[in-house]
Amino acid sequence: MATPVIELKNVSRKFISAQGQVTLALREMSLIVNEGDFCAIVGPTGCGKSTTLGMITGLSPPSTGSVKVFGKPVTGIDPNIGFVFQADAVFPWKNVIDNISVGPIYRGKGTKMAKDMAAEWVRRVGLSGFEHHYPHQLSGGMRKRVALAQTFINEPKILLMDEPFAALDVQTRALMQEELLGLWSEKKASVVFVTHDIEEAIALADRVVVLTRGPGSVKSSYEIPLARPRDVSEARYSDQFVHLSKQIWFDLKGEVQI
């Protein structure tokens, strides 16, 4: 079998505050993501979902255990990784085209070439005509499109998403989910998608991993057999979907109840 793209083995993560207080965010967590997999992680608040993503990027190393990306231990930020944040992380002082072209520019491509690439992505995420708008002039959904284009332009092989659509209204969220699946199906990156929304997890992913309450570890894992390409708005009414959603909710309920 091929090496998994992401492999977390018995990973624990402690946070030590300046006052010397120790918080355990993750405990003996193991997770494997294979090439082209769309893996969603759901779990109660404070169970270490975002911490998991931070360890895969290399921004925050694990306290014990090993994190491997493409079979190699993580030592720094891997250039194959793309990350979409929950909060707005587009640069407010750059207009749409400049925001999208920063990735290639940081990576040493010429400004001219980066701008050409960005222009193509502006079109792909449906922002034509807004090239010279600043983020504050755009709606929440449009800013999210900028963030997606900004990440996808680097053609990441691993895409990490930390509740990217949590701040959007229901209709925009559904649209953005469709859009994400469309963009993903072209490149087939491996995705780890953190969310607290069970339906979003099922609608998007091949596999849904449920974490226990903090300090988190994997409680259960569900294969999602829904056919692709999926119509997100249609899929959620099928019996299969409802059944899975009940099962996962039942699992999660045990963890959120106090």
Binding site: P79, F85, V102, G103, Y106, R107, H136
Partner: protein, 287 residues
């Protein structure tokens, strides 16, 4: 009734819209009228209080005397030379001090803000430096650099430096963690993060400090001239003080105020240009 309402500027604007526009225009006229009225009332009462001997012009001067003083300075020049050249000396000291102080402040603020260890080590000394009433350094600078321009520039520099440094440092520390993480993941080096994320984040803090610190630079230059100088508005004030010429002091204050207002206007224009990406409500200056 959407079809009847239209945007402003349209000749078919509804009566309601016209009324609203008229109201806004009237309000603005009222504000301008009241501003002028307030000035006229203040100056007239001052002048008449002196004429009717309610206050002593020896201490308080009077608007007409101040006007005459300004007129004399403009047409015949001051005792030290033409008013323009005196003002030019003070402005040169102020602007050079302001530029050196703000560049140093921005540079040190960003360098220490980006380097946690250096920041922790130096922060205590910056606090100590900031606690010194910096005007008193003027005496040291006169001894060190003499009566010429250098001592005034040095005083203006230290006046400006701490304000700009403090804001730049704070601005760097307040830079959004998410934006920095995003830049690193998108492929930025530490240097690129400093220049393309941290500096623009801190820019609104830095520009805010420049408004205050230009005034500080002016204070530094004028106080330096008080302490000992051959030219400048500060010397003009201290000469007027020495001859109990209250009108001369007031006239100098007016000259300085005009300069400070012009500088404020220019800095605001610069700020609006550099920060055009900000939402409009933050850019308005309540004029």
């Amino acid at each position: 009734m959407n079809s009847l309402t239209s945007t402003s500027g349209n000749p078919l604007a509804s009566a309601e819209e016209l009324a609203a526009i008229a109201k806004a225009v009237n309000r603005q006229r009222l504000v301008i009228f009241l501003r002028i009225a307030l000035m006229v009332v203040t100056l007239t009462s001052w002048e008449s209080a002196v004429r009717y001997e309610l206050i002593d012009p020896f201490f308080f001067s009077q608007p007409s005397a101040i006007y005459e003083q300004l007129d004399v300075w403009l047409t015949e020049g001051t005792a030290q030379g033409p008013l323009w050249s005196e003002l030019l000396v003070t402005m040169e000291e102020t602007v050079i001090g302001f530029l050196i102080g703000s560049v140093l402040g921005i540079f040190c603020g960003i360098a220490l803000g980006r380097n946690k260890l250096a920041g922790d080590v130096f922060s205590i000394y910056i606090k100590v430096g900031n606690a010194i009433p910096r005007v008193v350094l003027g005496s040291i600078f006169i001894i060190m650099f003499g009566l010429g321009m250098a001592s005034k520039v040095a005083l203006a520099v230290v006046m400006v430096f701490f304000v700009v440094f403090g804001n730049a440092f704070q601005g760097v520390r307040e830079a959004d963690r998410n934006l920095i993480a995003n830049a690193y993941i998108l492929g930025a080096s530490k240097r690129q993060v400093t220049f393309t994320v941290v500096f623009p984040s801190a820019l609104s803090w830095i520009l805010a400090s420049l408004h205050v610190s230009f005034g500080f630079a002016l204070v530094g230059a004028v106080v330096g001239e008080f302490l000992g100088a051959r030219h400048g508005i500060g010397l003009l004030i201290s000469t007027a003080q020495g001859t109990f010429n209250a009108a001369g002091v007031f006239a100098s204050i007016i000259v300085l105020a005009v300069v400070a207002l012009i500088a404020e206007y220019l800095l605001t224009a610069l700020e609006d240009k550099l920060l055009k990406w900000r939402p409009a409500q933050f850019v308005e200056h309540g004029m």
